[in-house]
């Protein structure tokens, strides 16, 4: 772990590289005309955005701007909220995830999610937590589960510290380890996209740094969309950024999207500039 500070610095350089020397990859997900209503209250309106494959896209903006609402519309988590209505189109590849012949469970098996607070299942062991997505979807073969567990724990940089205590309760892990366990749990079902809702906001700086370092490696196997209220974090880890803000009627809008470097160095919209320079928010 002695190389941590270096890793923490590197992503930004790589992001610069990715954005300036390579063409934008095919989108893993795209949204068109997306809006979200809770009852009669419009929370998010008219969002068009695409999320490149194998890249990290950050959603930033002041609190209450609809970042989390936006994120949760990308894997149909709003289905469970009474009164929530999502309008517009959300494409995963070229499949509309809100199409009537597609079930929410299918969508969520391909678009994983990590939450603000680590939420391992308290009655399950570390191993059972990691394989829970597979097991609860009907996969029983021991060999498959073992392989998936090791693969996912390695990908979440947790394998070395838990290899010998896979059968102990997940609640015995530290906060940062619990969050990485949740990442492993989401990775074990091999999703195409991983949604992360302020995954480090409840963690200390060192645990945060570890997770940020992890994201850079993870985006080789999964496209990442991360909500963060921390601008520095967005600048450190993301390749692309979307900046959201509410209008006078408290409705969230996507103000600007683009490579992270451009958003932070030469924003096109004055509101983006005000936010990234710390004048608002």
């Amino acid at each position: 772990m002695s190389q941590l500070p270096m890793i923490a610095l590197r992503p930004n350089e790589m992001a610069t590289l990715a954005a300036e020397t390579q063409p934008e990859p095919q989108p893993a997900m795209q949204v068109r005309g997306l809006g979200v209503r809770f009852g009669s209250k419009l929370v998010l309106s008219d969002v068009d955005m695409s999320f490149p494959t194998g890249r990290i896209t950050a959603l930033i903006g002041p609190s209450g701007c609809g970042k989390t609402t936006f994120l949760r519309s990308l894997n149909r988590m709003h289905d469970t909220t009474p009164g929530a209505v999502v309008i517009g189109t959300v494409l995963l590849g070229d499949t509309d995830i809100y199409s009537s012949d597609i079930e929410a469970t299918q969508v969520r098996a391909r678009i994983g999610m990590v939450f603000q607070r680590a939420n391992p299942f308290p009655t399950l062991s570390i191993y059972d937590n990691v394989v829970s997505g597979l097991r609860f979807n009907g996969i029983r073969k021991r060999a498959i589960l073992d392989e998936a567990a090791e693969g996912a724990l390695r990908a979440a940089a947790l394998w070395d510290s838990v290899e010998h205590k896979l059968r102990t309760s997940a609640m015995r892990l530290s906060g940062g380890e619990q969050q990485r366990l949740c990442i492993a749990r989401a990775l074990a079902i091999e999703p195409d996209v991983l949604l992360m809702d302020e995954p480090t906001s409840a963690l200390d700086p060192i645990a945060t740094m570890r997770i940020e370092a992890l994201l850079r490696k993870l985006c080789e196997r999964v496209s990442i969309i991360i909500v963060t209220h921390n601008m520095q974090q967005a600048a450190r880890v993301s390749d692309y950024c979307g900046f959201l803000m509410v209008d006078d009627a408290r409705v969230g809008h996507l103000i600007e999207t683009g490579p992270t470097v451009s958003i932070f160095s030469k924003p096109r919209d004055s509101r983006t500039e005000d936010y990234v320079t710390g004048r608002i928010g």
């Binding site: 894997n75 969520r108 994983g112 607070r117 939420n119 299942f121 609860f136 749990r185 989401a186």
Partner: protein, 299 residues
Amino acid sequence: MSVIPLALPDRRALIREASVASRRRRTVAGLVAASLSVVALLVALVPIVWIIVYTISQGIAAWSVDFFTKLPHPAGIPGGGIANALVGSLIIDGLAALMALPVGILAALFLAEFSGRLAGTVRFVMDVAAGLPAITIGLFAYAVIVVPQHHFSAFSASVALGVLMLPIVIRAGEGALRTVPNDLWEAGLALGVRRARVARSIVIPTAIPGLVTASLLAISRAVGEAAPLLFTAIGSQVFSTSVGGAMASLPLVVYQNGIQAYPDLQQNAWGTALTLLVLVVVLNVSARLLARRMRRHAR
């Protein structure tokens, strides 16, 4: 213009005086109120402590190995035990729990997870049902089971006690399931797991201590009830394990022996009452201990 400054010291003195007087009044009123509450508390405690002490002092004399292992003797012959009533209570209450707990816990899951008019109605009906007189439930079991079958049965008693337990399990179970953080639901759903599977494999296991507490509370309520058994299990002097026929049970022994003229029967009634008291205390204390342990584990 200079009138106001001159009046000020007077007004101050007036206010100070009023404040001192008011404090004296409030001190007295406070003392009176506090002593009245203490007296009320003592008055409320007296019957409860009296019942417990009296039951112990009357019942302990009846307790012996024979009391718990022998069958009852006919009236007039000293001795005799409650072995058949102990086993009878175990069978009747066990069967009632077997019928009521699964239904009750599933209903609790429904209430905890679905908010809507139906859930609201069910909740209201259950609150009313919790206050339903036990004897009404007994009469109901008599009408729909005993009368058509033309004989008393332990089974009909179990049905009556099961109905009595349902509202308790449902409301306490709902409370237990609601303490499961919403985070865990979301974590499960976000893995593409179906709602039913999330409930079965994550939410219910997490709520188990609370559900056990709810079940114990319901059982402890049912264990001491005599009214629902009067028209159903009816009681018996012999040893029986057949749920299709009449059966002895602890509350019935208390009721039937307690009103007899024979002192040894009365003593057996007190011994049985003490047994019930101990059973209910044990059930309640374990329910509470489990609930506390659950709260500690709930992060």
